[in-house]
Amino acid sequence: MLTVSAPSFPADFGGQSMRRTARIVPVIAAISLTATVVVACGSDKQTKVLTYGEGTTFTKNLFPLITAGNVTSAANILGRVLDGAFRIAPNVTYQQDSDQITSAESTMVNGQQVVRIKINPKAVWDDGQPITSADYVFTLDAQKSLDPAQGGCASLLSDVGFNQVESHQIVNDKEFTFTFIKDQAFADWRGLFSGASGSAPLLAKHVFDKGSPKANCDYMTAGWPIADGIPDGASNGPWLVKKANINVDSKTVTLVHNPKYWGVKPKLDRIVYANIGSESDVVVKALKNHEVNMAYPQPQIDLISNLKKLEGFTTSISFGPQFEHLDFNTRNPLLAIKEVRQAIAYGIDRPSLVKATLAQFSDQASVLGNRLLVTNQAGYQNNGADYDKQDTGKATSLLEGLGAKKGTDGIYVLKGKPLNFKITTTSGNPLRDTTVQIIKQQLQPIGIGITENATDDIFEDKTHPQSLEAGGFDLALFAWSAGPNLSANNSIYQSLDAQGGTQGQNYTHGGDPKVDSLLTEMAQADTVAKEIEFANKADQGLWSDMFTLPLFQKPTVLSFDNKYTGISDNSTQAGPLWNNDMFAVK
């Protein structure tokens, strides 16, 4: 008997359409009868399954510490497979995972930061081996350096923070401490154990320790190719990714329960992770036809409009940690003058810019008034209120105060040079094209000329003259990403002197000793409150310096079938599956 029940659908599936197409029902009935007999698919015996449609490139490796595994799709799969002691909450802060650890505290002892962590006594790896202090200490050691000569591993993406750990001490199997180098406290220490979604999973010593640093490095360099899944004993979250549940041809990964997980079990039986690409029409139709139940595509106007029309689905817009901004290149003699940069900032009507671009996505869109903290992040404050409204009078008075005179073409001339600037940005990005055009229209009447230079070379290396690294721009429009690790911003905003003469990501080449000092204090703060306080003070200084101008956060869009509950967006790198153990069928 081949007849098998067809896939289950929500009660309201196709209700209205069915009435509208009543005339063709006999034909359809014949087709569907045949198909129902033939269709032997969709007969999933377990009904508590959610299929997530991933829009980003399918990962080729599941180990998040190397380049091949450090992609969004891997982070989405592994978010609750390779847990850490902390998780990134939607308010862009680290939150302690009490299933993993029972306490974590940082104190200053004789100028050195000491962190003490107590592990949950119930915590075990998926092969039943207990998670111990040795695993945490091994995790610290394995990432302490990228230099093989020092026992490090060059394939690792980063050693930031780990390289500041001076020593560690195992108190017992479930308690340990680690100490940072004197005067090099690390405010973002929680990020060292923030799980796969924070690119800092806990490494199981009995899996990773191959006997020598080189052998360990070789193992990590190879990582976990996607077709092989994750080896036994390396997972500590509520879900598992096993070889048997990965289909590379179809680019699907099925998350199944971790039978050894000691915390609350996931409410769904399985989560199927399917790579469906980012094509708008594909996403909408896959949802509409119930081939996927949840998607997190790149926001586009037509896509959001179509998603909102889907019956039986919830579509929500949030504003994520990525934000658009302008970099002013201080190597340009005119942009080296602070008043010129400030005049440009006063001349840009940021609320109008947001209205013309992001308001189409959501009426919650707003300008961003901080470079280090985003609007949905704990501690955010608008430090740039003075620039919230366009002030053409102030812009022109600043320029005329410098002795600038308007030329016959209406553009100010300063020191014999007209104030004509190029905004360099990525090519093929309509949102950025629109942004540049609006800025151009806003600055033209003030007497500042703008042209767009959209190029693929913007993120290339120094050998490409138009790249950020080569400094081949006047102004540059691109995005930075905020996050809970505030110290990650130092390479952008600290002067070249403070970075040992290298530019890091300070493409403006601007610098302010006071800001440098505040950013250093921020990075070495021993509490989150102090870190935020220093961040806001540094940002106030950066508003005054105006080396960069933040514009707005980029939106994220989440759409899911209403038959599920517990789904909510986390627009940080933790992504929409951040709490997938709480997903349930209504």
């Binding site: 269709v39 032997a40 999933d44 490139t57 199927v272 094509e279 036809n289 081939e291 690294e469 130092n490």
Partner: protein, 337 residues
């Protein structure tokens, strides 16, 4: 014929070599596989970039990289049934390219084989009918239909098909048609092999219709024109004058000769299709050769792009060779020459 085939084969090897050299050199000169890491935050260290450059061989001269790639390209393993093995190196994530291409090729083949067969049958039937009845209502109807299909952008036609399929699913309150993927996502976790095969067949319906109709539309025009030309040929009039019945004239002398131009077009198109029906794959979310190329280009991955080029070129060359051999079968004059 054998000498002719060998000569063509040897020529093809040189064509492949030249293609690989130019594509490799151009890609290696233009691409920066590490570009994606340059805007990362916090920035990657100089040691990281140096290690990546070493690992990917980017620190070596271009010609040396090409020679290294070429010298490992082919391996003979006479202990295996498939004694010729290709090695296209590793991609930017250090994964072997050959197994990935094999997987992608299998997916693409599944999509295009049925579509090609359907398209050839459609082209033969409608092309010959259209040619035989040229300027008659049926020819006009077929002509209009084919021009409409030729004019339709692939993505738009596929989107329309999907829209219609979803409407039918709605009406039937059953998901009869599938718009996404080559099988129901995750079915391998619970389905029997029979269930999976049936599911895969159902997932083939829309892509096959889409690809077959759009591919056949051009071929129908070739077949029609060729049929019309052959029907005017002297030898056909002679056959008729000798009293051979019209259906026999058409079958034995007309269609056979009219097939030659179609064989060329089909061989060229089919060879290229193995490189991936890029748009159809994207619209129906089949992870085949077309998608592989897209990703390789996006990642600025030299070895992957060249690997794809080589596989595609091999298919184009092989199908051209097949076309040449088929000429000989269809037209004895080619054999004699």
């Amino acid at each position: 014929m054998l000498v002719f085939t060998i000569r063509r084969f040897v020529n093809s090897v040189f064509v492949l070599l030249a293609a690989s050299f130019f594509v490799y050199v151009f890609c290696a000169w233009k691409y920066d596989p590490l570009a994606v890491y340059r805007a990362s935050q916090p920035p990657k260290s100089a040691a990281f970039f140096a290690a990546q450059r070493r690992a990917l061989g980017l620190d070596r001269p271009l010609v040396a990289r090409y020679w290294d790639w070429l010298s490992h390209l082919v391996r003979f393993d006479f202990h295996s049934l498939i004694f010729l093995k290709f090695n296209f190196g590793t991609d930017v994530s250090h994964a072997e390219i050959a197994p990935q291409l094999a997987t992608r090729l299998e997916v693409t083949s599944r999509m295009i084989l049925v579509a090609i067969v359907a398209a050839v049958i459609l082209a033969l039937l409608l092309g010959v009918i259209s040619g035989l009845r040229h300027d008659k209502p049926i020819d006009v109807t077929i002509t209009i239909l084919t021009f409409v299909l030729i004019a339709l952008p692939t993505f738009w036609f596929a989107a329309l098909l999907k829209q219609g399929a979803i409407a039918l699913n709605d009406a039937a309150s059953h998901r009869v048609f599938f718009t996404t993927g080559d099988q129901t996502f995750g079915i391998e976790n619970y389905g029997s092999s029979g269930e999976i095969r049936t599911d895969q067949l159902l997932h083939l319906v829309l892509p096959t219709i889409s690809l077959a109709l759009l591919t056949a539309s051009g071929w129908i025009r070739y077949q029609r024109q060729s049929t019309i030309e052959v029907l005017d040929a002297d030898y056909l009039r002679l056959a008729r004058a000798k009293g051979v019945r019209w259906p026999v004239v058409v079958r034995r002398h007309g269609v056979r000769n009219a097939l030659i131009p179609l064989v060329t077009v089909v061989a060229l198109d089919v060879g290229a299709l193995f490189g991936g029906a890029i748009i159809t794959e994207q619209v129906y979310v089949w992870h085949g050769m077309g998608e592989y190329l897209n990703e390789a280009l996006k990642n600025q991955d030299v070895n992957s792009v060249v690997g794809w080029v080589m596989v595609s070129a091999i298919f184009v060359v092989v199908f051209n060779l097949l076309a040449d051999i088929l000429y000989g079968v269809l037209d004895p004059r080619v054999r004699l020459a």
